[in-house]
């Protein structure tokens, strides 16, 4: 215990130096914790959100199926539309429980002098497709009502009951979706029929979400549809999840590499700081050797100092990532193609514990060389100065 106190007091002798060293460790542990937490949160939220929709697969026009599926989920406009016949043919399959055609396009908003992203969907399917939404107001009950995403409403300062005009047709805002912190916030949600009329594409759809009656027959249904309807591609939700998770995984590897470089740099900082302290305390270390401290005793004291630094840094880093979770999450959301709603960075005690153990390991790793140098101090030379 006295060694620990000695180590602690030694660190306090140079408060600014120790503080800066701890800060370096805190920042890198914070980044590490946030990246791992974010990735775990991303994968689980993505799976929950996609499977919660109740859709088993999506039918999209020919092209890169994953790209189209991602665009549909992301909310961008795709150049191709599904043929009208596709919609009718899919309806004929007995194994299908429901189909949800989705039409995404851009329409100019003359009054506001902007172009809005409009998401056309049969309003009866909204609760199935977006079960996590909370709406201030109601889901549109007629073809002249629309729903607004949070950011659109904020940007235009629009309230429930206000009117928006598209292509000379007036729409009443029946409700506003509460903030989801996802791409959903940027859409105007319009009844499918109304949107098809505006863009003059009756029965036109960007994609069709499909739910089967018996999930065990999913593969059979997909095979049958693929055989009977040409010119389409089918993407299952598992494929979308994998596709997005792979994308996130690549980003994770890159960001983890950056975090590890940061950790390595901060470990070198710890090493440097402790080496300087050892040079300054040569006489003290020599004295301890003279009064009976073994080389291992000296080694232990120095390792305790480095571990104290890195463990404190680790603890502060964890607190920093929890306090700054929203800022980090907001920052990352700008760069990801698709982010599910809900909190991505959540406190995982097991992960926090791993990060703390990693901090201890880092302290031991950074302390080995300075501690070894300290054991090499010749007590006679040290005492004689």
């Amino acid at each position: 215990m006295i060694f620990l106190k000695l180590a602690f007091k030694n660190l306090l002798r140079h408060k600014i130096r120790s503080f800066l060293t701890v800060l370096g460790i805190s920042a890198s542990i914070s980044v590490l914790f946030s990246i791992i937490s974010f990735n775990k949160g991303f994968e689980s939220s993505l799976q929950k959100e996609l499977y919660r929709t109740g859709i088993h697969f999506m039918i999209v026009p020919s092209g890169c199926p994953h790209e189209v599926a991602s665009l549909v989920l992301h909310g961008a406009v795709t150049p191709n539309f599904l043929n009208i016949e596709v919609f009718q043919k899919i309806k004929e399959f007995d194994e299908i429980e429901f189909i949800a055609p989705i039409l995404i396009t851009q329409i100019p908003n003359i009054e506001k002098e902007k172009i809005d992203l409009v998401y056309g969907i049969e309003m009866s399917n909204i609760k199935q497709i977006k079960p996590q939404w909370k709406i201030d107001g109601t889901i549109p009950f007629s073809d002249d009502s629309i729903l607004l995403g949070y950011d659109v409403a904020e940007h235009y300062s629009i309230k429930k009951g206000d009117i928006l005009t598209y292509e000379n047709k007036r729409f009443t805002v029946s409700g506003i979706v509460q903030k989801t912190s996802s791409q959903d916030d940027a859409f105007v949600y319009m009844p499918l029929k109304a949107l098809q009329d505006i863009i003059k594409k009756p029965n036109g759809a960007t994609a069709i979400g499909v739910k089967v009656k018996d999930v065990d027959k999913l593969n059979t249904v997909i095979e049958e549809i693929s055989l009977k309807i040409p010119g389409i591609q089918i993407v299952t939700m598992s494929q979308v999840v994998n596709s997005l998770a792979n994308l996130a995984g690549s980003a994770k590897i890159l960001s983890l590499s950056i975090a590890l470089v940061a950790i390595l740099i901060s470990a070198i900082g710890v090493m440097n700081s402790i080496l300087m302290a050892i040079f300054e305390r040569t006489e003290e270390i020599g004295l301890m050797r003279a009064i009976g401290a073994s080389k291992f005793d000296i080694f232990r004291i120095i390792i305790k100092e480095t571990v104290l630094l890195t463990l404190t840094g680790g603890l502060i880093g964890l607190i920093m990532s929890l306090v700054g979770a929203n800022i980090i999450e907001g920052f990352v959301r700008n760069f990801m193609p698709y982010i599910p709603s809900g909190k991505m960075i959540q406190f995982d005690p097991f992960l926090a514990l791993i990060c703390l153990f990693f901090s201890i390991f880092l302290g031991i790793f950074a302390g080995i060389f300075p501690a070894w140098r300290a054991t090499k101090i010749n007590p006679i030379k040290a005492i004689r100065g």
């Binding site: 006295i2 000695l6 003279a290 073994s294 006679i380």
Partner: protein, 218 residues
């Protein structure tokens, strides 16, 4: 207790070999109070460090309780320093991060030994620091710091106390007090070897060894 036979200690200074000690023969018995004097650079501290097993001679034999320290491992020497020898230095070398009590008990911790709190407090009282037990080192005067160093040196009940200029940093009054404390410890049976420039204090010990150019002059 300690016997030095034909001890020679050399150092290399570039290509030149410098003789710090030449042909030293000395016996230290239990209960001795020896002063080592001599001009600067005469080899006093080198001799003290060899006696204290901090350094090994280049040639010759030094025996501690009939055991040749030249044949001992580093770990054995550490053990002897922990258990048999107490050191005090001119510059005290107390650890500023620890209080008086913690500084004094440090050798016990290194030696994995325990002594009751009453024994330690009694020891602290015996060196006149009863009211300073929990004080920080920077709150003490020079004389008090040297008392802490003495208490630290004897806390493990060593057989011999080696003092390198123990009064070198103290005024006359404190020098006298520290010397009296060393003499008191010697009277209780502890062997004391003291390096000093103070010839007046040296004369009051049992035996004075004067070194000149690494040799015992008389």
């Amino acid at each position: 207790m300690i016997e030095l036979k034909n001890i020679v200690k050399t150092y290399k200074r570039g290509a030149e070999i410098v003789y710090a000690l030449k042909d030293i023969n000395l016996k230290i018995e239990k209960g001795d109070f020896i002063a080592i004097t001599g001009p600067s650079g005469s080899g006093k501290t080198t001799l003290l460090y060899i006696i204290g097993c901090l350094d090994k001679p280049s040639s010759g034999v030094m025996k501690f309780n009939d055991k040749d320290i030249g044949k001992m491992s580093e770990a054995d020497l550490v053990k002897i320093r922990r258990e048999k020898i107490g050191f005090i230095f001119q510059h005290f070398y107390l650890l500023p991060g620890l209080n008086v009590l913690e500084n004094i008990t440090l050798p016990l911790i290194f030696g994995r030994k325990t002594r009751s709190k009453e024994e330690i407090i009694s020891l602290i009282e015996s060196v006149g620091l009863k009211d300073r037990i929990y004080h920080r080192i920077n709150q003490l005067s020079g004389g008090e710091m040297q008392r802490v160093a003495i208490a630290r040196a004897i806390v493990s009940n060593p057989e011999i106390l080696l003092a390198d200029e123990p009064t070198g940093n103290l005024d006359t009054e404190n020098s006298e007090k520290i010397f009296e404390l060393l003499r008191l410890l010697n009277k209780k049976g502890l062997s004391v070897v003291m390096v000093t420039h103070n010839t007046e204090l040296a004369k009051r010990t049992n035996k004075v060894i004067t070194l000149r150019d690494g040799k015992i002059f008389y």
